[in-house]
């Protein structure tokens, strides 16, 4: 090793950061599209009053795929997720343009009824939010209002299978009529997942579902996500990059409202295409 070479030696952080398009010119790199799309998003912009929060996002979410959305706080990933079942409708100043299709149906069409839409595209939130009702009623609530069960026995069956799919049945089967709020945080979150899947959704949106949970409860939810992906399409927003790496098939990286890169998760965490993705996942933002 020559002295000169040692002096010239680059910092580890310099490598691979020279390539990739400039963040100024916006074009999503990688593979944002999917051959077997469940949800097709094209040119979506989101505004809060005059302020634009999401810029021209085009993305396919594949059938039975787990897609993780990562990015720094305020990058628009949660806002984007909430577009997928029109949750942003609840915010008066929020305006969404572009096209989001659930298979053939245009989600952004103002004429569609959002109540059945939200049964088809369910959502699990950051904080477990069970209703102040019994465990049974928490799960039975959705099927009841959507008229999915005509008899008590049918409802019982929906509750049981939903709790089983959510990995909670064995822990609660002897106290179905105890209040849902009496469960631990991890159990409450799985109860919310059971409540979501009780109405047979096609897509489940998860907005940081584990950020209020301990590592063991988190591991159970992650295991559950893997099992659920056999029957559902899952889009998850997470602040934990390790979680994105563990649970997802593809990872989408958002930065300042723009969808920077979408690629196979394995590639994103070993050799991302975009320098901004690289900077974020290696912890180089200062």
């Amino acid at each position: 090793m020559t002295e000169a070479a040692l002096k010239e030696a680059k910092q580890p952080s310099e490598i691979n950061l020279e390539s990739g398009p400039d963040a100024g010119e916006h074009q999503t790199v990688g593979a944002p599209f999917h051959d077997n799309a469940k949800i097709t998003v094209r040119n979506v912009d989101v505004f809060y009053a005059d302020k634009q929060a999401v810029f021209d996002v085009s993305l396919d979410i594949g059938k039975n795929e787990v897609i993780a959305m990562i990015g720094p706080s305020g990058c628009g990933k949660s806002t984007f997720l909430r577009c997928l079942n029109r949750m942003n409708d609840t915010i008066d100043i929020c305006r969404v343009t572009g096209s989001i299709k659930l298979e053939e149906k245009e989600i952004l069409d103002t004429k569609i009824d959002v109540v059945p839409l939200r049964a088809e595209v369910g959502m699990v939130f950051q904080k477990p939010n069970p209703f102040p009702k019994s465990i049974y009623d928490n799960v039975a609530y959705g099927p009841r209002i959507h008229g999915l069960a005509s008899r008590r026995s049918e409802l019982d069956e929906i509750v049981e299978t939903s709790l089983q799919k959510a990995g909670l049945w064995n822990e609660v089967k002897d106290r179905l009529h105890a209040p849902g709020t009496g469960l631990s945080g991890g159990q409450q979150q799985r109860l919310c997942i059971a409540r979501t899947i009780a109405v047979s959704p096609e897509v489940i949106l998860m907005d940081e579902p584990c950020s209020a949970l301990d590592p063991i409860a988190t591991a159970k939810i992650e295991e559950l996500i893997a099992e659920l992906s056999e029957n559902f399409t899952i889009a998850i927003v997470t602040h934990s990059m390790q979680q994105a790496a563990r649970v997802s098939n593809r990872t989408a990286y958002f930065h300042m409202g723009k969808l920077i890169e979408v690629n196979e998760t394995e590639q994103v965490f070993t050799n991302p295409d975009h320098k901004l993705t690289e900077a974020y996942i290696t912890g180089r933002f200062g």
Binding site: E8, A9, I15, S19, D22, T282, F285, G286
Partner: protein
């Protein structure tokens, strides 16, 4: 993007950890490089003391291998590095192993130097071939360490190409040695010692190539092992 500082991790300690890992690998490379140069010189100058020094250095090389592995594991456990950081750590653990093997081969050459000394030199049949191959191998090892220090894929590619040439030179040198042995059966034992040294040099060329492939992986994230040079060039072309 004026709010971005891409040249720094948020954690200064992480920067230091990675930099330390890299510096230690380069130091180990320098040590092994000296070992190789000394071993070859020991044969050329019939210097038994120098050969002993090479063998003595082996212990330090082994210690450094273990220390680097420990450091890499600590970084994996504590930092969960991703992308280029992850590739750097993986690359270092692999390159460390190759360097340790280079040290082993240098050791073998040093032992041959001692054996040749014991037999007494006889005008040096085979030394020309040995000197020629050694010069190329020493250069290749130096180039690959520079390529790592500078993240220089072009130099790494040179090493990959050069290794092919070294293999060819090795084969032709072996043919020469066989000729010498047929011409003078009394020299068989001595020429065999030179053949072992040639073999060790050829192996060092292979290790240099392995490290070169790791440098390419580090910089581009492309695995270029076990494919032809043409395929590597095409793979790298698409990265430009």
């Amino acid at each position: 993007m004026d709010t971005l500082h891409l040249d720094q991790h948020i954690s200064a300690q992480f920067n230091e950890d990675l930099e330390h890992l890299r510096t230690k690998l380069l130091e180990m490379g320098g040590l092994v490089e000296d070992q190789l140069k000394d071993a070859v010189k020991a044969i050329e100058t019939a210097d038994g003391a120098l050969a002993e020094k090479v063998i003595e250095t082996e212990k330090e090389v082994d210690q450094r291998e273990m220390a680097l592995d420990q450091e890499s594991i600590t970084i994996l456990a504590r930092r969960q590095p991703a992308a280029s950081d992850l590739r750097l750590v993986m690359m270092v653990t692999k390159a460390t192993r190759d360097l340790e093997r280079v040290g082993d081969e240098a050791n073998k050459i040093a032992k041959m130097a001692i054996a040749l000394n014991a037999e007494g030199s006889d005008g040096g049949r085979g030394y020309v071939e040995l000197r020629h191959l050694a010069a190329n191998v020493i250069r290749v090892l130096n180039t690959v360490l520079d390529a790592f220090a500078r993240y220089d894929v072009e130099s790494a590619m040179d090493v990959v190409r050069e290794d092919k040439i070294i293999d060819t030179e090795y084969k032709s040198a072996v043919r020469e040695m066989i000729t010498y042995m047929m011409e003078d059966p009394r020299a068989i034992s001595r020429v065999m010692n030179i053949m072992w040294a040639l073999r060790a040099l050829e192996r060092i060329g292979d290790h240099a190539r392995n490290i070169a492939e790791q440098v390419i992986y580090l910089v581009h994230g492309t695995d270029v092992r076990h494919i032809s040079i043409g395929d590597i060039e095409r793979a790298l072309e698409s990265k430009r």
